[in-house]
Symmetry: C2
Subunit: 194 residues, 2 copies
DNA sequence: CCATATATGTCAACATGACTGACATAAAAC
DNA sequence: GTTTTATGTCAGTCATGTTGACATATATGG
């Protein structure tokens, strides 16, 4: 009873540990999204807009299909928010070069500004948490979180790809290629889902 | 720390690391909730019902106010789902002893069965992730996640309390007291919020 | 005892973001 | 030249959140 786990019942402790993790995920995700939500409200946007802005910013030149695969929502749902974002000048569309049916998506300057404003918030929250928890904890955080994610979605977090995305640099015209490569695996599973 | 980051630009890597964490939270939370969502759909329920069932199960005898403070939604929103759960026999209400205005909430057998079914799913996902990541990683996971949570909500995860909840055992008639004690701090902040 | 505060419930209206189903168009592919 | 694919769109529904106003029962403090 003095310190931790002189335990009367290790199963109870394990139970408590799992329950705690469940609740921490709930509170962490809620707190993590609440500040951006407030910013978005100023623009008349919601969390759905944030997700679109985020992933378009992350994968410049992404196609609508790829975006749908990442978000795992219907095209009708995406259409509403994407339409607003394009209409209000946060996102630009341009036809694909090889396949002119595609509408490649990209942030405008205005979109990039909003993206920075929104993500900056979350980034600093994470950065603070990482700093306070220490490098070793960060490693464990990654490892556990990755294992919580469905196996079919873990491909998005391959060591190679993420680092590559950061080091290939420009992120401009080549973005489409990068996005296609990154989301290839995910596309299939999501496509089969709906 | 030794063999990682031979990197060309430590700022880029840090950027990538933060971005990766943001995305992992997104995917992890989505995958984490999707299976329970499917089960809930069979009952005509949604995620909101899950949250109510979960926290009532976790704090038997909890008051409506306390539940509102945890969920951080309006009483009108809660009323709808709570009304359904009571109406369909998943949750029971009884007047408070000291304060008869209160409606103390408790799961019925039926409610407990659903709670188990729902949470079992998430618990095994977390358990698997913990097992595959290792004890050290779990420690880091906890530390980081706790730091992501708003400071005012971290009180819910005091070492003492969680373990106490696990070791006090019975979780029956004494639940009301336990719940009141556990959520006391959180109540104020949320109460002042709306 | 009466006035006020608190715990809870309820009605009504609305916004967001998801869903399904059906249909349309342009371009690619075979 | 038919079929498939990428995308868009119309129309309706549902779940879950919101605000605002008001009702009721009980507690609490002069």
């Amino acid at each position: 009873m003095t310190d931790i786990k002189p335990g009367p019942n290790p199963l109870f402790l394990r139970e408590a540990e799992l329950r705690q993790a469940i609740e921490m995920l709930f509170f962490a995700y809620r707190d993590f999204t609440s500040e951006p939500d407030q910013i978005l409200a100023q623009y008349g946007f919601g969390r759905a807009h944030h997700r679109v802005i985020y992933f378009v910013g992350r994968h410049p030149g992404i196609t609508v299909s790829e975006l749908l695969a990442i978000l795992a929502i219907t095209k009708q749902s995406l259409s509403r928010v994407l339409g607003q974002l394009v209409g209000e000048g946060f996102i630009e569309q341009r036809p694909g070069e090889r396949d002119r049916r595609q509408r490649l998506l990209e942030l405008t300057d205005r979109g990039r500004a909003l993206e920075r404003r929104l993500t900056e918030n979350q980034r600093s929250r994470i950065a603070r948490a990482f700093r306070e928890a220490g490098a070793e904890a960060v490693e464990g955080f990654h490892r556990v979180l990755l294992n919580i994610i469905d196996e079919c979605n873990r491909g998005r977090f391959d060591r190679r790809e993420t680092l590559a995305a950061g080091t290939t640099g420009t992120e401009g015209a080549t973005g489409a290629e990068g996005a296609t490569g990154t989301e290839g695996a995910g596309l299939e599973s999501a496509a089969s889902r709906r």
